[in-house]
């Protein structure tokens, strides 16, 4: 089925929405990301939970992104994220720089249906100075001054990620990638690609159920074998270092990046 179902899944992502994506080691839906780029989406507000790499870099380079909210965008051992850096210097994306625990806490507030979450730290950081939506109050639970930061709840329009398996009922097994559970809980719409669909009931398996996202959180699902490539998927396959190196080199220039996208689109069509 793969391609048709994947294209349909990605069509549920409208221009201009707020979309949450996982870190490079936790189930990045790369095949869906390439489909999103081919469909020419724009104006997206990307929230990395809490960091991103090639996925954000490609979406930024392809002109899909208006706002980048993250605690870090990097290609890790393959260096800086070149399209991200270039967009920052050009001023073509709006930045909402943050720190990992602030993003995670905001998402947890969204998951709990409360308006904010308090967090220690951040006071005196320039991150706080540039985030008008982060507020400082005095801890009301103690006597005397004790300033603490409140982070607004994050409720993404869409969470998009890739997981090892789903069952026929649409339950999703995520293994150790627990942040995917929070992403599914907090988002209004959850779009998931999986390596494979299994015939047994994940929710009825005591070993797998604790790491399974119940189907009621999942809006749409598509099978996409090798769907995290060139990134890896824990327990399934490692990252493709040569392919990541190829990307890092190509994306150093606008022209190189364009060629890379053209080639990726040609490969997808084949």
């Amino acid at each position: 089925m793969a391609e048709g179902a994947l294209e349909k899944l990605v069509q549920k992502i409208d221009d201009g929405i707020c979309i949450a994506i996982p870190p490079s080691r936790s189930g990045v839906a790369m095949q869906a990301t390439r489909a999103l780029i081919r469909q020419g989406r724009h104006g997206l507000h990307l929230i990395a939970i809490p960091t991103s790499g090639i996925q954000a870099d490609m979406l930024i380079g392809a002109g899909c992104v208006e706002v980048m909210e993250s605690a870090g965008v990097t290609l890790d051992e393959f260096g800086q994220a070149p399209r991200f850096v270039s967009a920052v210097k050009a001023g073509s994306i709006r930045l909402k720089d943050s720190t990992c625990p602030a993003i995670v806490s905001g998402l947890q507030a969204g998951e709990k249906g409360v308006p904010f979450f308090p967090m220690r730290g951040l006071i005196g950081s320039d991150l706080l100075r540039h985030r008008a939506d982060y507020k400082v109050i005095d801890n009301p639970m103690t006597q005397g001054a004790d300033p603490i930061v409140l982070l607004p709840a994050i409720t993404p329009d869409v969470s998009l990620f890739h997981a090892p398996m789903a069952d026929r009922a649409g339950n999703i097994w995520i293994g150790k990638m627990r942040e995917l559970m929070t992403m599914a809980h907090a988002a209004k719409t959850c779009l998931v690609t999986v390596e494979r669909i299994v015939d047994f009931d994940l929710m009825n398996d005591p070993l797998r159920a604790p790491a399974t996202i119940p189907a009621l959180y999942v809006t749409s699902l598509a099978e996409a074998p090798n769907g995290a490539w060139p990134l890896g998927l824990e327990g399934c396959y490692n990252a493709d270092a040569a392919a990541l190196e190829t990307y890092a080199r190509a994306a150093r220039s606008t022209a190189g990046f364009r060629d890379y996208l053209t080639q990726a689109a040609r490969q997808a069509a084949e």
Binding site: V88, T99, D146
Partner: protein
């Protein structure tokens, strides 16, 4: 005397700073701090615990991206490592960029967990191998996380030391300044002064950083090398020939 390489010296230096710590967490892109944490674990007979992010076998986290921070907030992490594209004399660190925010003329990845962990982990060791006026600046262009907090701000943690490719500094919280503790073998005080953009305290004479002890080198090469190869295979190959 044993021959040793620069990385082994830095690992031994950092391991000394971890003496007595209950649990050390090691972030990403940190093969030297990671090796130091594992050396301390070995020296402590296992009393010091170690978590290395993104490793397979040195992993104690299983509750998602937030668990490390929950642990830090509860006081379960004794030591952590931070770095910076710029580090200044008040121990402010900058992981964001050079120039005016947001359109920096040099942009780095971002602040990661620094804006929380720097406040909450009791022993934060700053490690940046490049020691030049580009990295060791008078004042950072962007404060990802401040070295000091005003009275009244909850801050059980903060910087205790800065280790570079040239020297070891301790951070004196009361004075808000670094103190030069030692200069690495093969380098001089003049070199440190020439390459440091901030003012720091020092004694009349500054000792040389002690070489790694023979038993440490032995542990490193025979026991730690295969352990650090799990998260950092390239580093283990380059430094220990694994």
């Amino acid at each position: 005397m044993n021959a040793y390489c620069k990385e082994e010296l830095l690992i031994a230096v950092i391991a000394r700073l971890l003496d007595g710590v209950g649990h050390v967490a090691v972030g990403v892109s940190s093969p030297i701090p990671g090796s130091a944490a594992l050396l301390q674990r070995a020296l402590s007979g296992g009393a010091t615990g170690v978590t290395v992010l993104n490793s397979r076998n040195l992993q104690t986290l299983n509750d998602g991206a937030g668990e490390l921070f929950d642990r830090a907030a509860q006081g379960r992490i004794g030591a952590f490592f931070l770095s910076g594209g710029q580090i200044d004399g008040q121990a402010n660190i900058n992981l964001v960029g050079v120039g005016d925010y947001p359109r920096h003329r040099v942009r780095w990845s971002g602040s990661f967990g620094s804006a929380m962990l720097y406040f909450l982990v009791p022993r934060v060791i700053l490690f940046r191998e490049e020691h030049t006026r580009r990295t060791m600046v008078e004042r950072v262009d962007f404060i990802s996380a401040p070295g000091l907090s005003p009275p009244g701000v909850y801050r059980p943690g903060g910087p205790v030391a800065l280790v570079t490719g040239l020297a070891v500094f301790s951070f004196q919280k009361a004075r808000g300044r670094f103190h030069l503790d030692s200069v690495h073998p093969g380098h001089s005080l003049e070199e440190v002064l020439d390459n440091t953009g901030f003012a720091f305290d020092r004694d009349e004479t500054t000792p040389e950083t002690p070489a790694p002890e023979a038993d440490r080198l032995d542990l490193l090469r025979n026991r730690i090398a295969p352990e650090i190869a799990d998260p950092y295979p390239k580093f283990a190959r380059a430094v220990f020939g694994l």
